[in-house]
């Protein structure tokens, strides 16, 4: 089935054309482009029109006020106002619920976007991030996934809030507090559910994990291991197939533990075994050769890697990591984010983290004393 998005931007179609070309794909996704209507009444008419019903999603620019539209009219509202109106109309049942993606220049997001509007959008993409041709296919997958996901959410709500159907997985053994939270969330409009799942489940490790964390927890350096994909194949059963899985590749963490202890029947704990030992065990159990264990960063102590430094991506054990700030409102089933010692001392990936958690600052001072990094005398 081909999904259809409407892309509203005040710039000319010429400027947006490449983005559209890169995102759309015959038989999968088509994108119509249009300028804002120029005034709020006409914009509302558009939302209520029959044509609008045919769209499976919406891409909105944030600042619609910069350039006049084709008819020379300048709009006096933001993409976020439009999104708010659409959410309101959907809530009252006037129109159906659709995914809305914000696509805007970073500078405009910084200037005009009030963070309380975040939940209106399923995805917020800064135009500058589309700085690599490789990103278009994954973004297309996410757009398609959002459309499929919205339909699935609606279906599950109609089936008495069927969570098993939503996640395509037996949730019995999952964290009880997660289940409790999900049962509350599913009562909400689709975009609240979507937001919750994307932000708290797909974008944060915990219940689900991404490929890099999976490799880290198995102790495998996947860049060096040609047999890595074979490991993934063996683990296929625990691949996440639930809502939005088309756009986000994830695995069930409970599945990993289950697989390790019960299917591979390894007695040593996944959490507290050194990477090199885990890789030896895996090679033996899976009858694979080309698997290379991860190596420890220079200043790390532990080799039982569990997470990746959010700045540099280096695999670390949480004992060798320093917590970053802004993680107070975490759900208990979520993993916390750390940076490695090197990253804390000499940050290289600051775009991915802001500051250390205040509680970690004394550690940093000690580390600076421990590794003074003095210039050799000339």
């Amino acid at each position: 089935m081909e999904f259809k998005y409407l892309y509203i931007d005040d710039n000319s179609e010429d400027i947006a054309k490449g983005i559209i070309t890169g995102l759309k794909n015959e038989g999968e996704l088509s994108i119509d482009f249009d300028n804002p209507k120029g005034n709020w009444e006409k914009e509302r008419e558009r939302i209520l029109s029959n044509e609008f019903k045919s769209y499976n999603g919406l891409i909105l620019d944030l600042n619609l006020e910069e350039t006049p539209n084709k008819d020379g009219e300048t709009s006096r509202y933001k993409g976020s106002s439009l999104a708010q109106e659409i959410r309101n109309l959907a809530k009252s049942g006037t129109i159906k619920e659709t995914p809305i993606v914000l696509l805007s220049a970073t500078i405009n997001i910084e200037k005009y976007f009030d963070r309380t509007n975040e939940d209106l959008f399923d995805l917020i993409v800064s135009r500058e991030k589309l700085n690599d041709a490789d990103l278009f296919i994954s973004m297309r997958q996410r757009l398609i996934s959002l459309s499929i996901g919205y339909e699935l959410i609606s279906k599950c709500k109609n089936e008495n809030n069927n969570l098993t159907e939503l996640f395509k997985y037996n949730l019995e053994k999952e964290n009880i507090r997660f289940l409790g939270e999900m049962k509350t969330i599913i009562e909400n409009p689709a975009h609240i559910i979507s937001n919750f799942i994307i932000k708290n489940l797909l974008e944060k490790s915990g219940i689900l994990i991404a490929e890099n964390i999976l490799a880290t927890r198995l102790g495998i350096d996947c860049a060096k291991s040609t047999d890595w994909h074979k490991v993934l194949e063996k683990f296929n059963k625990f691949n996440y197939k639930g809502v939005f899985s088309e756009g986000w590749k994830r695995w069930w963490m409970s599945g990993l533990e289950n697989w390790w202890s019960f299917e591979l029947q390894i007695e040593k704990s996944l959490r507290s075994t050194k990477a090199s030992d885990k890789v030896s065990l895996l090679k033996e159990k899976l009858d694979l050769r080309e698997l290379v264990p991860l190596e420890k960063a220079e200043k790390s102590k532990s080799e039982t890697f569990w997470t990746n430094c959010v700045g540099s991506g280096v695999a670390i054990d949480t004992v060798d990591g320093l917590l970053i700030t802004g993680q107070d409102r975490y759900f208990p089933w979520q993993d916390k984010c750390y940076v490695s010692i090197d990253e804390a001392l000499k940050p290289k990936g600051k775009e991915n983290w802001n500051k250390l958690s205040p509680s970690e600052e004394y550690k940093l001072e000690l580390l600076k004393k421990q590794y003074p990094n003095e210039r050799p005398t000339r």
């Binding site: 054309k17 700085n131 003074p372």
Partner: protein, 726 residues
């Protein structure tokens, strides 16, 4: 010529000389053609046709047909065929019209050789019964042959016309585009004075461009179809803001007049005096000049001109503005050539233009000076024929012209200031963007007055010092103004450019998905993708640094971040230059006192560019090293390179404004070229660094390097880090 007798020996000339003379005497093809046109003038022709036949590519022909006196066999033999003949030396005036002969001695024949491989001359005189046709095949004139052993065929043909010469140059050595033909047409036209500037010149039959007595027509003939090349664009002189016209009469009184319709200006016969005590000019008489004045980019100052016309004039000004000098009707070079500033206008006014908005450079003027000096008593050409000897007459001429133009400028300034104030008419409101300069005394005038009032020598010395410093600052300011506006433009430009980045990436992505890609097209795509990624890294760098400028926000800067970002950006450039760059940093949290990120960006770029140039000059395999760290509560940044080093005597001077070891860009070079190597780079660095109580110096480099620039700026204080939330 081989003789058995060994009792005497004579010089002989190798035929290869012709080729050498043709190429070395007549460097440019333009000169070659113009020499041939001059020859027609010297032969008293009234009409010359210059036809380029199928000449877009090499191998075509060029015909120069005149209705001059023609040549007899004897004249051909003793004149044209005799190298270094003395005819023009002996007879400086032409036979029929007494024209002052224009052609350079004996260059014509070499000009034809320079232009094409074969020459056919068909010539006839009034008296002759037949026309003579001479064919010369220049290719026969190869080295290792005696020049006199090569015979050139002569034929006799029925006469085509009463008199005149036709030169046909076959097998042209180069192709002639229409633009090239136009260029040469303009070149030829400029040879002659544009107009009779005085009654005298009229009665004396002085050559001029629109002279009915000598007409040149250029045509391009392709496959038998002829197009006349339009005469070089008339300079649209009548579109001027003002016309300045002046003269010195036969008794030495000088006058200038300034006329402008738009400025309601009609000042007639303003006297120009030699000096306060002496009204009359002593030496020169009968000088006339006329100059057309333009201000570019200010359509509002004109009555009837479009932006396009004005910008066309501005373009023309690049090659043909300035004040030209015509002596007895002929152009005297180099006066008024591009870059020539014989009246010192550029030196005097370039720094000032921004202050007053009455720019008065050579660029703004199209002027012609006529001097009539038939006997060559007042003005003598230098031996090299490059200009006039700077004698008393010449000095008076320059003095008169300068005073006249300054007077004219004053009158124009007065009226334009009124326009800006909206007092001249109410046609439009003009923004008052500059200070009124005409009512107030200028600083120059103040200096002058001060100089008169002060009689104490040391005070005079001090004033002189201040004055020098003042001019230095003015000059620096005007350059900084250019740089600043360039910065804004880059910011704006980058902002526009990045709009397209995601779109282009989208197209690239889509191309990858095509099923029709073969290995070759995938390789091209890979290259495209990589190249575009490099491109994007530049634009995003500028966007991050230059555009942030608009926010003017200062904050503590993590120097290691700045360096990382910078290094990432120049990586490709380093690879291209084959230069290795090591980066080291010592200590942690190298936050500087609050600064603007773009300031560091310009510091790093300037230092990097200098190092690159030094490495290039040295010819070494490039090596650079950046070291950052903390010392004595300062954050330091060092850039080492293994370039050619800085000699001790220059170490203190490199930070001075305008000190540069780079060869300056030519006057005609594009702006960007002029802005590199301005000698302001290090000065700007010093200004930035010192503004934050920092220092920049040249220190002893580490082993393996030849130069090291070190910058120290205060480290951010704890309170500052907290205040800025770092």
């Amino acid at each position: 010529m081989e003789e058995n007798s060994h009792n005497s020996i004579s010089f002989s000339v190798d035929a290869g000389l012709i080729d050498r003379l043709g190429r070395e005497l007549v460097g440019r093809a333009e000169t070659a053609v113009s020499e041939l046109v001059k020859n027609a003038y010297d032969a008293d022709a009234k009409n010359v046709e210059v036809n380029f036949i199928d000449s877009l590519w090499s191998g075509g022909s060029l015909e120069i047909v005149d209705d001059g006196l023609g040549m007899t066999y004897d004249q051909l033999k003793s004149g044209f065929m005799t190298i270094s003949s003395t005819d023009k030396v002996h007879n400086p005036l032409s036979i029929r019209y007494n024209r002052s002969r224009a052609g350079k001695k004996g260059i014509g024949r070499f000009a034809t050789q320079r232009l094409g491989k074969r020459l056919i001359i068909i010539t006839q005189t009034l008296e002759s019964e037949q026309a003579i046709k001479l064919t010369i095949d220049w290719d026969k004139y190869t080295v290792d042959q005696d020049i006199s052993s090569i015979a050139n065929q002569i034929e006799y043909l029925p006469k085509e016309k009463p008199e005149g010469t036709t030169l046909i140059i076959k097998d042209l050595r180069e192709g002639w585009s229409e633009a090239a033909i136009k260029r040469i047409y303009r070149y030829v036209s400029d040879l002659f004075q544009p107009d009779y500037l005085s009654d005298n010149s009229h009665s004396l039959h002085i050559a001029k461009q629109n002279d009915e007595s000598f007409k040149v027509k250029f045509s391009k003939i392709n496959e038998g179809v002829s197009f006349e090349i339009a005469s070089p664009q008339k300079m649209l002189f009548d579109k001027n803001i003002a016309v300045v016209e002046g003269f010195i009469d036969s008794v030495g009184d000088g006058f200038v007049g300034i006329r402008s319709e738009r400025l309601a200006l009609d000042d007639y016969a303003v006297p120009i005096e030699k000096s306060k005590d002496e009204n009359k000019f002593q030496v020169i008489r009968n000088v006339h000049f006329k100059a057309y004045y333009f201000i570019y980019n200010r359509v509002e100052y004109y009555t009837n001109i479009s932006k396009l016309e004005l910008s066309n004039i501005q373009k023309l000004a690049h090659e043909s503005s300035g004040i030209r000098l015509y002596r007895n009707g002929f152009r005297v070079l180099p006066y008024g050539e591009p870059k020539d500033d014989w009246l010192g206008l550029d030196i005097r006014y370039s720094g000032e233009s921004g202050q007053t908005n009455i720019p008065f450079n050579n660029n703004n003027l199209f002027g012609f000076v006529e001097i009539i000096d038939k006997e060559g008593l007042l003005f003598q050409e230098t031996a090299s024929r490059e200009g006039l000897i700077e004698n008393a007459a010449f000095e008076e001429l320059v003095d008169f012209l300068q005073k006249s133009l300054v007077t004219a400028r004053g009158r124009i300034a007065e009226k334009i200031t009124l326009i800006r104030k909206g007092k001249l008419d109410s046609k439009e409101d003009f923004e008052e963007d500059t200070e009124d300069t005409t009512d107030k005394k200028t600083i120059e005038e103040e200096f002058e007055e001060l100089d008169k009032e002060v009689h104490n020598d040391s005070a005079k010395e001090a004033i002189k010092g201040i004055k020098e410093k003042y001019y230095e600052v003015i000059e620096e300011l005007s350059m900084l103004r250019i740089l600043a506006s360039l910065g804004l433009t880059i910011g704006e430009f980058t902002h526009e450019i990045i709009q397209f980045t995601p779109s282009i990436n989208g197209f690239i992505s889509k191309l990858y998905e095509s099923n029709e890609n073969d290995l070759n097209s995938i390789k091209i795509l890979d290259d495209l993708k990589r190249t575009f990624a490099n491109f994007t890294s530049y634009t995003s760098y500028f966007n991050a640094t230059v555009s942030e400028n608009t926010s003017r926000e200062i904050k503590p800067i993590l120097i290691t971040d700045v360096v990382d970002f910078f290094v990432k950006n120049i990586k490709e450039d380093l690879d291209r230059q084959n230069t290795e760059l090591l980066v080291e940093s010592y200590g942690y949290d190298l936050y500087t006192t609050p600064m603007h990120i773009s300031e560091w960006s310009s510091v790093l770029y300037n230092l990097y560019t200098n190092s690159k140039k030094a490495i290039k000059r040295s010819g070494n395999a490039g090596k650079m090293k950046i070291i950052t760290g903390e010392e004595n509560d300062k954050i330091y940044f060092e850039l080492h390179d293994n370039g050619d080093g800085i000699p001790n005597e220059n170490k203190n001077r490199v930070f001075n404004a305008f000190f540069t070891t780079s060869t300056p860009a030519g006057f005609d070079a594009p702006l960007d070229e002029k802005l590199t190597g301005t000698g302001l780079g290090l000065k700007i660095i010093r200004d930035i660094v010192e503004a934050y109580r920092g220092t920049v110096k040249i220190i002893n480099p580490e082993i393996g390097y030849n130069t090291c620039f070190r910058i120290d700026v205060p480290k951010a204080e704890k309170a500052e880090l907290e205040e800025y939330g770092v």
